[in-house]
Amino acid sequence: MDHAPTRSPRPDPDDLARSLHTPLDQITVEHADLIEAVRRRVVVGQSVPVPVAAFNSSI
């Protein structure tokens, strides 16, 4: 049995590119799934520790 946590699917890059051509007032209708994918990946995902959320260098 695989106990590895499931990662939220990433937003489709082509959908992201296409969304730039959609006016804001139509985004929620035309890209509802993409909004949810981004929200899950970017917002919910951040509560999981991301190793390099803020990478501090020491040169």
Binding site: P5, R10, P11, L20, P23, V38, V42, A54, F55, S57
Partner: protein, 755 residues
């Protein structure tokens, strides 16, 4: 594919355009007239608009496209960019023999973001077997000079790779070594065009000489750790996705000839005279009409479009029946296996039998050439400004999605409507606001369910964003804006601190400023006044640049370490001078890194001073376009910090879209630059930053007698060890392995190329 020039300055005897069955070039104009270029560009733009295509790939082809000259080429490229880019992302390519390439032409290509494939068959003997001038003279030196030009940092972004036509009489080892010596981002190996009517040469007793020859190169390539991309081998792997020559993907290439006629893929010229014709042209027919031609339509059917022999073959999903043109036989047409069928079958067997220790598993990434291109470009260490703009576009798209998600939580319909209206009437104003690096952290904080209920819950960002966009657009609107700690932040512009405002304020945008009324307070802020209005703390610019010093936006506090409070004017001026000088230093050291910074770095955040750690810098994953640094007076030092942190910003943007590291493995890797074992993503970030810093120190070492060489050697060793540890860890996805492999190659090139 646009045939912008129908003649060539070489006279290669294996050329399918002039030397094979089709001779239609004889009746076509020498160069594509401007009106034809314009009509073709309009057809492509029309198609992209109607189908909402995210990308369109246009290849300038010939004949020899460089025969247009710099001015002619510039005209064509400008027309394509101006007509098509309003509707889609335009990926411009060129296939050339390279003979005429000089610095002026390279600059035209870089200026218009064109990536160039150069036809080159390997070592001198191999290349000159076919690729000669009409008088029989060698083209080898001219082509090598062209490849050397494309390797220069200034032009590297236009170097797409090498196209090598196979001749089994050549020594495969020498060809392989000659190709690799040119450090191409990608190599493609092309089987010479042939049909059942005119089969390929098969010298010697072997039944599959092409498989044997290519198999030898494949083995060398695998044994060498796959130093760079060889498209043919990658396409033939299970799940490799294929190319025009292999696989079952629908055909997606149309050709515009110099006279404006639509044609099918031009390799069909090898089959018979007129084989590629459609009867359509760009003046009277759309892309859809041309794509509806039966010869194109049959190639949309996948395995069902193949002959019975292919449909029954166990490797049909790999070779896809081979190149369409290679199936031709008089009588049965294209309803045959490829004339290279036996070779392809054996080659696939060879590829499977010798995967090598580093072969990546099949992956979705290996099919996505735009991703490959983007990663390959970034793996040079810097990435072109155009690639950085693509990353910025991704970030903008993500921010717009987050904005839309926030709309559901907003009680200000007016703010949303203002933003939506302004995006139609003043798109640059809205874009400038949404691209501000600290808008996304604000939106994320607002949406984060973990933060929503605590005392630090974010205020609704939409009203302030609407005000910022309206001020930038000069459009009068009135919006209710939440007040936090007696302050209103207007992203990209500044913050107003006004005691007595209460919890909400009415903000009215006026010409040149805005008026704020709330609680007992009423203040008009004029942005262009000599002295800032009382309580107004404007964001300050670095002189003579687009860079902002952001020390007021509360959401800049996203670096995991304290940010500086607002600097006084002398401190800002000093930091600005240092940044300007640091920018010049980067330009002096590695111009390509300066261009990359120019492409996307917009904001610098001062970090709080800490006597124990006076020199620090940071990047935040949610704040693309910004880096944080401790104000430091030495531009040489700050230059390194900027380059280092910008690497993290770019890679963070890539990781937003693509998985380069296999998630959930829990792997830890020992690295030379830190005592604690690091997760793979941390190592990847470190390697990418250190590659850039290596390039900076190597450049300095060329003119510096001090300790630059020692710094360069240390970062080189760190980068090499980190990259090798990553590759050995088996924690990377296929895309990640490719990226680190390319990066490793760039590192060795840095080592060799900079003294």
């Amino acid at each position: 594919m646009l045939k912008v020039h129908s003649r060539c300055d070489l006279s290669c005897d294996h050329c399918y355009v002039y030397q094979h069955a089709d001779q239609t070039w004889r009746g076509r104009p020498v160069r594509m007239p401007p009106a034809t270029v314009r009509a073709a560009a309009r057809r492509i733009a029309e198609h992209a608009r109607e189908h909402q295509l995210p990308d369109v790939h246009v290849v300038l082809h010939g004949g020899e496209p460089l025969l247009l000259g710099a001015a002619g080429l510039r005209e064509v490229l400008a027309e394509l960019r101006a007509t098509i880019t309003p509707w889609t992302r335009l990926d411009l390519r060129m296939q050339t023999n390279g003979v005429l390439l000089d610095e002026e032409l390279c600059q035209v290509l870089v200026d218009h973001d064109v990536r160039v494939g150069v036809s080159f068959d390997g070592d001198r003997a191999a290349n000159d077997r076919h690729r000669v001038f009409a008088h029989g003279g060698s083209s080898h030196e001219q082509v090598r000079r062209a490849l050397a030009l494309l390797r220069r940092p200034a032009y590297r972004s236009s170097y797409a790779g090498i196209l090598c036509t196979v001749d089994v009489r050549n020594d495969p080892d020498r060809v392989y070594e000659a190709l690799l010596a040119e450090s191409p981002p990608r190599v493609d190996l092309l089987l010479p065009h042939a049909t059942w009517d005119h089969p390929p040469q098969r010298p010697g007793p072997g039944a599959t000489p092409y498989a044997d020859w290519l198999g030898r190169i494949h083995r060398r390539w695998v044994d060498d750790g796959q130093p760079g991309s060889i498209r043919l081998f990658e396409a033939l792997r299970p799940g490799g996705g294929g190319t025009e020559a292999f696989g079952l993907a629908p055909a997606d290439v149309l050709v515009v000839e110099a006279d404006g006629t639509w044609e099918q893929v031009d390799s069909l010229k090898t089959a018979y005279h007129g084989a590629a014709g459609t009867g359509f042209d760009v003046f009277d027919h759309s892309v859809d009409e041309a794509a509806g031609h039966p010869g194109v339509a049959v190639r949309q059917d996948g395995v069902q479009g193949l002959c019975a022999t292919c449909r029954a073959c166990p490797v049909v999903d790999r070779c896809g029946g081979g190149l369409y043109a290679h199936r031709w036989r008089t009588g049965s047409g294209f309803d045959n296996p490829s004339v290279y069928c036996a070779d392809l079958f054996r080659l696939i067997d060879s590829v499977d039998a010798y995967p090598g220790p580093a072969q990546a598993p099949p992956s979705e990434w290996s099919t996505a050439s735009p991703l490959d291109d983007l990663l390959d470009d970034l793996a040079t260490g810097h990435g072109s400004p155009q690639t950085v703009r693509r990353l910025a576009d991704d970030q903008l798209a993500i921010t717009r999605m987050l904005l839309a998600a926030c709309r559901e939580m907003s009680d200000s319909a007016a703010a949303w409507e203002t933003l939506a209206d302004l995006e139609l009437t003043a798109p640059e104003a809205v874009r400038a606001v949404l691209e501000h690096p600290f808008v996304r952290p604000w939106l994320v904080h607002r949406l984060d369910p973990a933060a929503r209920s605590d005392v630090g819950a974010a205020a609704d960002p939409l009203p302030a964003l609407a005000v910022a966009a309206a001020v930038r657009a000069g459009v009068p609107v009135t919006v209710d804006v939440p007040v936090r700690a007696d302050a209103i932040t207007v992203p990209t512009l500044g913050s107003l601190l006004l005691p007595g405002l209460g919890e909400r304020a009415e903000v009215t945008v006026l010409p040149g400023g805005f008026r704020v009324r709330g609680g007992s307070a009423d203040r008009t802020v004029l942005l262009d006044a000599g002295e800032p209005s009382a309580g107004w703390r404007p964001v300050r610019n670095v002189p003579a640049g687009r860079l902002l010093i952001e020390d007021g936006d509360p959401y800049r506090d996203c670096y995991g370490q304290p940010v500086a409070a607002r600097l006084d004017d002398p401190a800002v001026q000093a930091l600005g001078r240092t940044l300007v000088e640091a920018w010049r230093v980067v330009c002096r050291d590695v111009p390509a890194h300066a261009a990359s910074l120019d492409g996307g770095l917009r904001v610098v955040v001062p970090l709080a001073p800490d006597p124990a750690r006076p020199l620090r810098s940071a990047t935040a994953r949610h704040a693309f376009g910004a880096v944080a640094v401790t104000p430091h007076p030495d531009p040489e030092t700050v230059a390194v910090l900027l380059v280092h942190e910008w690497q993290h910003a770019k890679l963070g943007a890539v990781l937003d879209r693509y998985d380069l590291v296999t998630p959930g493995q829990g792997t830890r890797i020992t690295v030379p630059w830190r005592p604690d074992p690091r997760p793979p993503e941390g190592v990847l970030q470190g390697v990418y930053a250190h590659l850039a810093v290596t390039q900076v120190w190597r450049s300095r070492a060329a003119t510096d007698n001090g300790d630059a060489s020692a710094h360069a050697a240390r970062f080189l060793a760190w980068t090499r060890e980190g990259a090798d540890a990553l590759l050995a860890s088996r924690s990377l996805t296929a895309a990640g392995e490719r990226f680190v492999g390319q990066l490793r190659h760039a590192l060795e090139e840095t080592r060799v190329g900079s003294g």
